[in-house]
């Protein structure tokens, strides 16, 4: 597979998925967008890694999304943030556009500072980090907090892939992704789990 040719489509995937994560209130769409996002992460990582190693990102990401999805399935919490619809969504979309503009304008400087990273990787990683930070700042809900953390981490991983391809690091980063999603899943359901307090 020619991943160079897939680099622009993968950037589009990242733009759509992370923006959807920022805008949507529906947890099902959020989980779907998160899973979709990892396809773009995989394609950008595969630019510098062998595909069989880069696929770890995809598998770990999908597993993380599944863990989060399973934790929410069966819970019927009503989103309090719904009240702000649709002005809230428009505001979020505009901030995403702002992040995109900032990333595009900063790309030449970043590329000069970090020549090992390709321009598409700079676009993808910094957009993910920017939108992830934005989502994190605008929410207090466990699921959205964790998805935004995973988005930020994905952005970092795309960039870091250009510098490091040790198997232990790949494994540990996958473990961290899964760990974050498990913590997120735990925080979603923590209140409903029977107490383990000492008697």
């Amino acid at each position: 597979v020619d991943f160079e040719a897939l680099s622009i489509p993968s950037i589009i995937i990242l733009l759509i998925s992370s923006s959807v994560l920022l805008i949507t209130r529906d947890w099902r769409i959020s989980i779907g967008a998160l899973a979709f996002q990892y396809i773009g992460v995989f394609a950008l990582t595969a630019l510098v890694w062998p595909p069989d190693l880069a696929v770890v990102k995809l598998v770990a990401g999908w597993m993380a999304a599944s863990i989060l999805g399973i934790s929410r399935a069966g819970t019927f919490a009503i989103a309090s943030e719904e009240e702000t619809w649709p002005s809230g969504q428009i505001f979020r979309l505009l901030t995403a556009v702002l992040v995109m503009v900032a990333v595009v304008s900063l790309t030449p400087t970043i590329s000069k500072t970090l020549p090992a990273i390709q321009i598409v990787q700079v676009w993808g990683s910094f957009y993910l980090i920017g939108v992830g930070l934005l989502t994190l700042g605008l929410t207090s809900r466990p699921l959205r907090t964790v998805s935004s953390l995973l988005t930020i981490l994905s952005g970092f991983e795309v960039m870091y892939a250009a510098f490091e391809s040790a198997i232990l690091v790949v494994g540990l980063l996958a473990l961290v992704n899964l760990g974050i999603s498990m913590v997120g899943a735990y925080l979603v359901v923590a209140e409903e789990i029977p107490s383990e307090e000492a008697t």
């Binding site: 930020i152 870091y160 510098f163 760990g179 923590a190 000492a198």
Partner: protein, 491 residues
């Protein structure tokens, strides 16, 4: 067998086993205590890399464990520190039985300590950031136990720990470039800024410290004390590893000056903020800020004493935190689950030993003479005043704030309401109830008995803190070998 197998893999595997049997809390905690004591015993008596002959059997603990193309290495110089870590873990585990922590404490604390020791052992050592992150993730169920709504402090804790990791990993790549061309000032500045940010998130350093007081309010105080003692200590050790490895860092006076300023800021802000808190948990959180500050100040002293003071601080802090955490957990138990000042008025009159332990732990960390932390505080203060007398004044303001918090706590705990009687009457009451019950061969009530046991235990802990403060020369040889881990930092 390799050293990492013994001190990392074995406790990790044991933590999984303990997790599945956590239903029997006391039994598995005692098993975990025995295991950690055994690991400490091995660390103390069996050298790494030297063959021991026992009859026809030769025993040799090798240094290295290879894992996915990378190594975990524990050297013989690290043995005393590992031994001390496991003794302290045994103490934390023993305390958890009294503090009534949740059932996850034994398995998760074992796993956290093993992972953090792995962080010190992994090569290339930058991967430690990943292991610290895994340890932080594992600790989330501890600080936010099942059955309770997670608070904001938990989120901030794991978000900030997660933020720290990418910075450190990225800096690792940059440092290779800095070593290759140390004259590239722009690269050096970029690496230094990113590293400072990474450690600011991990430690935590102002302004990323907000989870400390929050977590102390939301969690069991004993568990909060455990997290506050363990994570910053290992992170600072990890940071000292950077100084030890990179000549451009350890030879730069600016780096030490920066560490000193951050340390001063932490003590100053921690002290001022703690002075007006009305919750004992929050005071513990700000005390941690002050402790991180003092650790940084100890490191910033570019003299042979600096590292020794740093390691002594590390050990003293752990001991004081165990006692402080225990007393706060007990206090929470007897005061309707609240550590807020409004619910604690006059509690010291009913539980004098309990209140006394809280105060002794507090004043010990404030550096009052004859208490555990006094010798290290005095050494830091003296050395710092020699560098710049104004630094001494800044420290004084910070520490005064913390002392003021202690005085306020003292006032709240020992000034009761009208209905409350004097301190001695309550204690005498317990003794009379117990002795009359024994005389009449009746079994005393569980509450009376439990209070007396606690009083005796806490009274004993006062002696430990007084002993550490009065005879520091007896404690010093125990930590004398620790600085050898960072051989390049020893002049």
């Amino acid at each position: 067998m390799s050293a990492p197998t013994i001190w990392i893999l074995l406790p990790l595997i044991s933590s999984v086993v303990v997790f599945f049997f956590r239903r029997w809390r006391v039994t598995v905690t005692i098993a975990a205590i025995l295991l950690t004591l055994m690991l400490a015993f091995i660390a103390w008596f069996i050298p790494i890399g030297t063959a021991l002959q026992a009859g026809s059997i030769a025993l040799k603990i090798s240094q290295t464990l290879r894992f996915f193309g990378r190594s975990f290495i524990l050297n013989d110089v690290e043995r005393p520190l590992i031994g001390a870590m496991y003794v302290l873990t045994a103490c934390w585990l023993a305390g958890s039985l009294l503090a009534r922590t949740n059932r996850l404490f034994a398995p998760l604390s074992l796993a956290i300590v093993a992972l953090l020791i792995a962080a010190l052992a992994v090569e290339p050592f930058l991967y430690a950031a990943l292991l610290i992150e895994v340890a932080a993730l594992i600790s989330v169920p501890l600080v936010s136990p099942p059955g309770r709504k997670p608070g904001r402090g938990v989120y901030r804790f794991f978000i900030f720990q997660t933020f720290g990791m990418p910075f450190i990993l990225f800096v690792g790549w940059m440092l290779a470039g800095v070593e290759a061309s140390p004259s590239d000032l722009a690269l050096v500045v970029r690496a230094a800024v990113l590293m400072a940010l990474g450690f600011a998130f991990l430690l935590p350093v102002f302004p990323f410290h907000s989870w400390l007081p929050m977590l102390a309010v939301e969690s069991n105080p004993y568990i909060a004390a455990f997290i506050f003692a363990v994570f910053p200590s290992f992170t600072i050790l990890f940071g000292v590893g950077f100084l030890n490895r990179y000549a451009w860092l350890r030879d730069s006076p600016t780096v030490y000056e920066l560490i000193r300023i951050i340390g001063l800021l932490m003590v100053l802000l921690g002290g001022i903020w703690s002075s007006y808190q009305k919750h004992l948990g929050r005071i513990l959180g700000y005390a941690t800020m002050i402790e991180i500050g003092f650790s940084l100040l100890a490191l910033s002293l570019v003299n042979p004493q600096g590292l020794e003071i740093f390691f002594t601080l590390l050990m003293v802090r752990a001991i004081v935190y165990i006692l402080w955490g225990l007393s706060l957990a007990r206090m929470q138990h007897v005061s309707n689950n609240s550590l807020d000042f409004t619910g604690l008025h006059g509690l010291g009159l009913k539980y004098p030993f309990l209140a006394g332990t809280t105060l002794i732990a507090h004043f010990s960390l404030a550096g009052l003479p004859l208490l555990a932390a006094f010798p290290t505080r005095l050494a830091i203060w003296t050395s710092l005043a020699k560098v710049n007398p104004q630094y001494g004044w800044i420290l004084l303001v910070g520490v005064s704030g913390f002392v003021l918090a202690g005085v306020r706590t003292l006032g709240v705990l020992f000034i009761g309401t009208d209905e409350q009687d004097s301190l001695t009457e309550h204690f005498q009451e317990d003794i009379v109830t117990l002795s009359s019950a024994l005389r009449e061969r009746n079994i005393p009530s569980a509450d009376t008995f439990s209070t007396l046991i606690w009083d005796i235990f806490l009274g004993f802990t006062w002696l430990i803190i007084l002993f550490l403060g009065t005879f520091p020369q007896l404690f010093a040889p125990l930590v004398a070998d620790f600085p050898a881990i960072f051989e390049r930092l020893i002049p």
